[in-house]
């Protein structure tokens, strides 16, 4: 239990009649980026607040870095860093003043603060702009600065709540690059709240999916794809007529077939299905194939299918 960076048992939080986090049992090993995936209002932010000891759980318990969140919230916050929903930067102060303040909060010596500010701001490409007031900066720059602030005191664990939300794709990609580089260099455990699935797929070694406060599944993105998503194939070409689709749907080795954006999307019955007989059948049916490739369900497909399954079970209940 003490080995895990985060360990929760039936962690629950109610707000009146609303159950924001519902019996969450989770173990996050140290040194990984853990993606906590869920739609808006799924309970991700409440979970971070519970893990930081900012909110009392209604039931259950959690240990973060070996400390109990109910009784030792201060010890957790001492050793963790957090970039919450907003960057939390003082916009009337300069970038350097912002980092200097939090460096003092974490009791870094003057020399250490100076060196660390230089190191982190250089890494995110903001050192030359350290004397500027943050208020005039773009959201992307602010988020980079906020990540530098989170890492300033070399925390063992950081919580990031939707760090790329609201950023344009270029800024989001740049932030992801910086985050990936910094996290790898600092060897820190990351608890990343996100609903950006490609981001989670790229950054996270493990992901958990939450819906209405309930944890639906946990595992590596690959394992989740294998467990939940069926193997897929894409075929580019011409001649995907309704008759061809009917022919494909009648086959045992194909679970579903549809045409999307001019390409044929096939969901295969299982991993053992071979593509060659399917392609032969398509050619015989008059389809002109330009390219065919086998793939796997994306994390997005897995996420959507989990949401759908849970919704269906809810209806049954």
């Amino acid at each position: 239990m003490t080995e895990a960076a985060i360990h929760t048992i039936n962690l629950t939080r109610d707000f009146g009649a609303v159950r924001a986090v519902d019996a969450l049992t989770l173990e996050v090993p140290p040194g990984i980026i853990f993606g906590f995936l869920g739609a808006n209002g799924a309970g991700k932010t409440t979970t971070i607040n519970l893990l930081l000891g900012l909110l009392e759980p209604s039931a259950g318990q959690a240990q973060v870095l070996g400390f109990d969140t109910r009784a030792q919230g201060g010890a957790i916050r001492e050793r963790a860093g957090a970039l919450l929903e907003f960057s939390g930067l003082y916009e009337r102060l300069t970038a350097e003043d912002n980092l200097d303040f939090y460096g003092r909060v974490w009791r870094l010596s003057a020399a250490e603060r100076q060196a660390r500010i230089r190191e982190l701001l250089t890494h995110v490409g903001l050192y030359d702009r350290r004397k500027e007031r943050v208020g005039a900066w773009s959201r992307g720059m602010k988020q980079k600065l906020a990540i530098a602030r989170v890492l300033l005191h070399r925390p063992a664990l950081i919580f990031l709540d939707e760090p790329t939300a609201g950023l344009d794709p270029v800024a989001a990609a740049a932030l992801r690059d910086d985050l990936e580089g910094l996290v790898a260099r600092e060897g820190v455990t990351v608890f990343l709240n996100t609903h950006n699935l490609p981001e989670a797929e790229r950054l996270c070694q493990q992901v958990g999916v939450i819906r209405s406060g309930k944890l639906l599944t946990v595992g590596s993105p690959d394992a989740l794809r294998q467990r939940t998503g069926q193997p897929q194939a894409e075929v580019f070409g011409e001649g995907f007529t309704p008759e061809v689709l009917a022919l494909l749907r009648a086959r045992r080795d194909i679970a579903s077939a549809k045409v999307e954006n001019g390409r044929l999307l096939l969901e295969l019955a299982d991993q053992q299905v071979k593509m060659a007989p399917i392609i032969t059948a398509l050619v015989e049916a008059g389809v002109q194939i330009e390219e065919a490739r086998r793939g796997q369900a994306s994390l997005e497909d897995v996420f959507l299918s989990l949401m759908e399954e849970d919704r269906a079970q809810e209806v049954v209940r």
Binding site: L54, F86, L93, Y102
Partner: protein, 251 residues
């Protein structure tokens, strides 16, 4: 704990210096405060000349009014402003204790308000000495009693304003709402005694006036200072009790 309070105080001061609002350059906050102190320190000391030093006016203006007026804006911003600008959550998620955050904010405000009162008194002393009314006389300054009264009252008034301001700011949704509450409270505090006095029977009014005229000014000042201290400490204790991370994080 003390180091943490200093850290928060330092941050608050930097923000005071930077000034409120999104635009403007560095030092806008201090320039605005100095401008206000300057306006409050020119006309009447110029008219009074050396009489200023024997008058009770500087004790009221610099010991009570200036600290309140200067602090009202910044203290209203203390928690409500951080909430509005979404910096409060990050501060609460840091290792700082509740007391360090609260006392740091109160401490910075007390230092700022007291400094405003003392700078105001000094500026008025300079203007009074430059007044054409006493062109032939030498330099003069406040008697020791007045200096003690100005410094003590400026400190206590700043503490009271900071305590009530933090309490209001903790509850207010926006800085503007906190400022309005503080302004309303200030007017109620200033005018309520006069209104109450007016509705008292004539004989009671006369008794009160006689008692005030006969009272030793030092004693009146000490009682007033003691009352300020008591109220300020009581409000600070309430603010401490109301400062709850869970409630603040949800607000």
């Amino acid at each position: 704990m003390i180091a943490d309070i200093w850290t928060v105080m330092g941050k608050e001061w930097r923000e005071y210096v930077a000034g409120t609002g999104a635009g403007g350059g560095r030092g806008r906050g201090v320039i605005a405060a100095l401008l206000l102190i300057g306006i409050a320190s020119i006309l009447w000391p110029l008219q009074m000349g050396r009489d200023l030093f024997t008058s009770a006016a500087p004790i009221i203006v610099d010991g009570l009014l200036l600290p309140y007026i200067i602090l009202q804006t910044v203290i209203a911003d203390s928690f409500a402003g951080e909430r509005e600008r979404h910096t409060l959550e990050t501060l609460l998620a840091s290792r700082l204790s509740d007391q360090a955050i609260l006392f740091g904010k109160v401490g910075a405000a007390v230092a700022y308000g007291s400094a405003a009162g003392i700078i105001g008194a000094l500026a008025q002393a300079v203007v009074a000495n430059l007044s054409p009314k006493n062109a032939d006389s030498g330099l003069a300054f406040y008697p020791v009693g007045s200096v003690v009264a100005i410094v003590t009252l400026a400190l206590l008034m700043s503490l009271l304003t900071a305590s009530v301001g933090c309490l209001v700011s903790l509850r207010a949704a926006t800085t503007r709402q906190a400022q309005l509450s503080l302004t309303f409270g200030f007017f109620a505090l200033v005018f309520a005694p006069f209104i109450v006095f007016q509705v008292l029977p004539r004989q009671t009014q006369a008794t009160i006036l006689d008692a005030l005229n006969a009272a030793d000014p030092t004693r009146v000042l000490l009682i007033f200072a003691g009352a300020l201290l008591l109220v300020a400490v009581a409000l600070l204790l309430i603010a401490m009790a109301r400062f709850q991370r869970a409630r603040l994080i949800l607000s």
